[in-house]
C-alpha cells in the first residue's frame, strides 16, 4: 500500500460514513447527531472558503461572514419576496454573495498580508452594522424567517427539507459537489497559478501571471463558496439573521480552517467537524467550553501549524515510509510573506 492508496481508502471511508449517517446514527439512538453532522457539512464550506484564500493564495480573510450573510439573505428574501423555488433561491444566494465578493474584492485584493485581513474585516463590519440597522429588510438580530420550498417536485412526489433524512442528503450532495469542484480547481492551471502566487507573488508576475486578476478570481470563488454555505444554513435554520455577519463568525471559520489544516482540501471539514463535535459533547457539561476552544486554537498554531489534515498526511507518510518531498512538518500550511 502506498500513500496515495491510503488516501483513496481514507476518502472512500469518509464518503461511505457520511452517506451512512442518517441510518447509522439513529440506529445507535443518536438521532440528534444527524443534524449536527449536517451543520458541520454546511460550516465546512465557510471554512473551505477561508482555506481557498489562506491555503492556496496566502491571503487571510477575516471577513467571510459577509458573503455567508449575503447567501443567507439571498435565500430568505428571494423566497419571501418572489416565492422562488429551492434551486433558484440557492442560486440567488450564491450569486448575491459572488457579486458582493466581486465588489469588495476589486478593492481588497490590492492589499496583502495584514492589510488584507483588516480590509476584509472592515468591509464585513460595514455591512454588518448596515444590516443590523436596516431592520425593515433584514430583521436585524432577530432576522427573517421563511418556509423552504420543496427541493424537487416530481409528479406529485415532493422532496421536502422537513424530512431530516432528505434534508441531510440534499446538504451532503451540495457540499460534496462544492468540494469536488474545489478539488478540480486546485489541480487545474488556475489552481497552479493560485499556488504560484501564494509561494511568490513577485515571481508569479514575472512569469506573466496577472496577480491582481487571479487573486480577484479566487476571492470571488471564495465568496461564492461562503454564499452557498450561508444559503444552506438559511435553509437548514429556515431563517436568515444579520448576527451571522459579525466578524466572530469569520473568526470561527478561520479557526476551523487552521485547526483542520489550511492548504489541504478537506482540512476545513475536519476542523469544523472536530470543533463542532467538541462543542456538542462538552458545552452541556461545561458552559465555558469556549476556553478550551481558545486553548486548542493556540496550541494548534503553536505545535501543529499544518492542522489535522497536515498531521494526518505526515502520519501516512511515516507509516508507509514514503516520505514525499513535500512534507515538512514544521512548515506552516499557510505562508504569508511580508511584502518586500
Amino acid at each position: 500500500m502506498t500513500v496515495s492508496h491510503a488516501r483513496v481508502l481514507g476518502l472512500t471511508v469518509l464518503v461511505l460514513a457520511l452517506i451512512a449517517v442518517p441510518y447509522a446514527l439513529p440506529a445507535l439512538g443518536a438521532n440528534f447527531w444527524v443534524n449536527i453532522i449536517a451543520e458541520i457539512l454546511i460550516w465546512s464550506l465557510l471554512a473551505a472558503s477561508v482555506n481557498l484564500l489562506l491555503g492556496y493564495l496566502g491571503l487571510l480573510s477575516f471577513g467571510q461572514s459577509l458573503y455567508f450573510g449575503f447567501g443567507m439573505y439571498g435565500v430568505a428574501l428571494s423566497i419571501n419576496a418572489w416565492d422562488v423555488g429551492f434551486w433558484s433561491a440557492l442560486a440567488i444566494g450564491m450569486a448575491a454573495a459572488s457579486v458582493m465578493a466581486l465588489i469588495a474584492g476589486v478593492l481588497a485584493v490590492r492589499l496583502t498580508w495584514h492589510y488584507f485581513a483588516i480590509i476584509t474585516v472592515v468591509f464585513s463590519l460595514i455591512f454588518y452594522f448596515a444590516a443590523m440597522s436596516m431592520k425593515w429588510l433584514t430583521g436585524g438580530d432577530d432576522g427573517v424567517s421563511f418556509t423552504p420550498p420543496p427541493v424537487m417536485n416530481l409528479g406529485g412526489y415532493k422532496l421536502l427539507l422537513t424530512d431530516p433524512t432528505a434534508q441531510y442528503y440534499v446538504i451532503l450532495g451540495i457540499v460534496a459537489g462544492c468540494f469536488a469542484l474545489m478539488a478540480l480547481i486546485v489541480n487545474s492551471p488556475l489552481g497552479l497559478s493560485f499556488k504560484a502566487i501564494r509561494e511568490n507573488d513577485r515571481r508569479a508576475a514575472l512569469i506573466g501571471i496577472n496577480v491582481y486578476r487571479t487573486r480577484l478570481i479566487a476571492f470571488v470563488l471564495a465568496g461564492a463558496l461562503a454564499g452557498v454555505s450561508g444559503a444552506l444554513f438559511a435553509f437548514f435554520g429556515r431563517y436568515a439573521s444579520a448576527s451571522y455577519m459579525f466578524y466572530h463568525v469569520s473568526g470561527e471559520a478561520v479557526v476551523w480552517a487552521i485547526v483542520g489544516g489550511a492548504s489541504s482540501l478537506l482540512g476545513p471539514l475536519f476542523g469544523a467537524g472536530a470543533l463542532i463535535i467538541f462543542r456538542e459533547l462538552v458545552s452541556n457539561a461545561w458552559e465555558h467550553y469556549l476556553i478550551a476552544v481558545g486553548v486548542i486554537t493556540i496550541l494548534v498554531v503553536m505545535f501543529a501549524p499544518r492542522g489535522i489534515a497536515g498531521s494526518w498526511n505526515d502520519l501516512l507518510h511515516k507509516a508507509f515510509m514514503r516520505r514525499s518531498q513535500g512534507a515538512d512538518p514544521n512548515k506552516p500550511a499557510a505562508v504569508i510573506e511580508e511584502p518586500r
Partner: protein, 252 residues
C-alpha cells in the same frame, strides 16, 4: 539605427528614492544580437534599471522602447507577455512547489492557460515543454524535488528555466552566476552564450572575468548614470572606469 537592430532603447530614464537618484537620466540603445553587459560598483543602480524595464517600480520620467513600443510603467505581467523575461539578483522561485510545477506554472502562464476544471497533468504539450526546459537547464534529476530543497546554484538554474518558459525576445539576467561554484559558473556561462545566439540578452554581472570573456558590448554604471560604454577592450583601458573601480574596490 533601425528598430529591428535595437534590442532595447532607453531614453531619459530616471528613478529617485527620496533624495537618492538611483537611476539618473539613462539614455542608451542596446543592439540586438549582441550580448550586452552592465557592470558597475554596488549601488550603481543596475538592479533598479532592470526593475524599471520590467515595470516592477514606476519610473519618475523617461521612456523604455521595446519593439517600437513604449512600455515604461506598464504592468510587470504585461511586459513579460510582450517578450521581456528576467531573473532576480536574489534568486527567487516558487519554493513550496516542485521543480516540475514551477516550470509548468510558467509554461501555462505563457500559454495563457487559466482553465479551472481540467487537471494540469492532462496538458501533454505543456508537460513536454516543461520537461524540455528542465532538461535545457540541467535539472532533470530534480524534477520531483521541492524548489525550496534545491541548492542555491540549482535555484538560479530553475529561475533561468522560468524566464525561458516565456520564450522571451529579450532576457535580463541579474548576476546569474553569483553564489555559484566554478563548475556551475562555467556551465551557466556556456548556457548564457548559447541563449544569446537566438535571444537578446542583457547581463548584469560582478564577475569581471566572465563579463570580459563573453560580453560583446559593455555599459558601465556609476551613481545612477552611464560612466562609459564600449567593447571589453575599450572598457578595460578606460581611465574613468579604472578610477571608479579603484576608487571603490569591489567587496566581493
Amino acid at each position: 539605427m533601425t528598430a529591428s537592430g535595437t534590442a532595447l532603447s532607453l531614453s531619459g530614464l530616471t528613478k529617485r528614492f527620496g533624495g537618492l537618484v538611483a537611476v539618473d537620466d539613462v539614455t542608451i540603445d542596446l543592439e540586438s544580437r549582441k550580448l550586452n553587459a552592465i557592470i558597475g560598483p554596488n549601488g550603481a543602480g543596475k538592479t533598479t534599471l532592470f526593475n524599471l524595464i520590467t515595470g516592477e517600480i514606476a519610473a519618475d520620467s523617461g521612456r523604455v522602447t521595446f519593439q517600437g513600443r513604449d512600455i515604461v510603467n506598464r504592468k510587470p505581467h504585461e511586459i513579460v507577455r510582450s517578450g521581456i523575461s528576467r531573473t532576480l539578483q536574489i534568486k527567487s522561485v516558487f519554493g513550496g512547489l516542485t521543480v516540475g510545477d514551477n516550470v509548468r506554472a510558467a509554461v501555462l502562464a505563457h500559454e495563457r492557460i487559466m482553465t479551472p476544471f481540467r487537471p494540469v497533468s492532462s496538458y501533454r504539450a505543456v508537460a513536454a515543454r516543461s520537461n524540455d526546459l528542465i532538461e535545457e537547464v540541467g535539472l532533470s534529476d530534480h524534477r520531483g524535488a521541492l524548489a525550496s530543497s534545491l541548492s542555491y546554484g540549482d535555484v538560479a538554474l530553475l529561475e533561468m528555466a522560468l524566464a525561458l518558459a516565456a520564450q522571451p525576445k529579450l532576457l535580463l539576467l541579474d548576476e546569474p552566476v553569483c553564489g555559484m561554484g566554478p563548475q556551475e559558473t562555467e556551465r551557466t556561462v556556456a548556457m548564457i552564450t548559447g541563449i544569446s545566439r537566438h535571444t537578446d540578452v542583457i547581463l548584469i554581472e560582478h564577475d569581471m572575468e566572465v563579463v570580459f570573456d563573453i560580453a560583446d558590448f559593455i555599459m558601465v554604471m556609476a551613481q545612477g548614470g552611464i560612466l562609459a560604454t564600449g567593447t571589453a577592450a575599450e572598457i578595460a583601458s578606460d581611465a574613468k572606469v579604472q578610477e571608479a573601480y579603484l576608487g571603490s574596490p569591489e567587496d566581493d
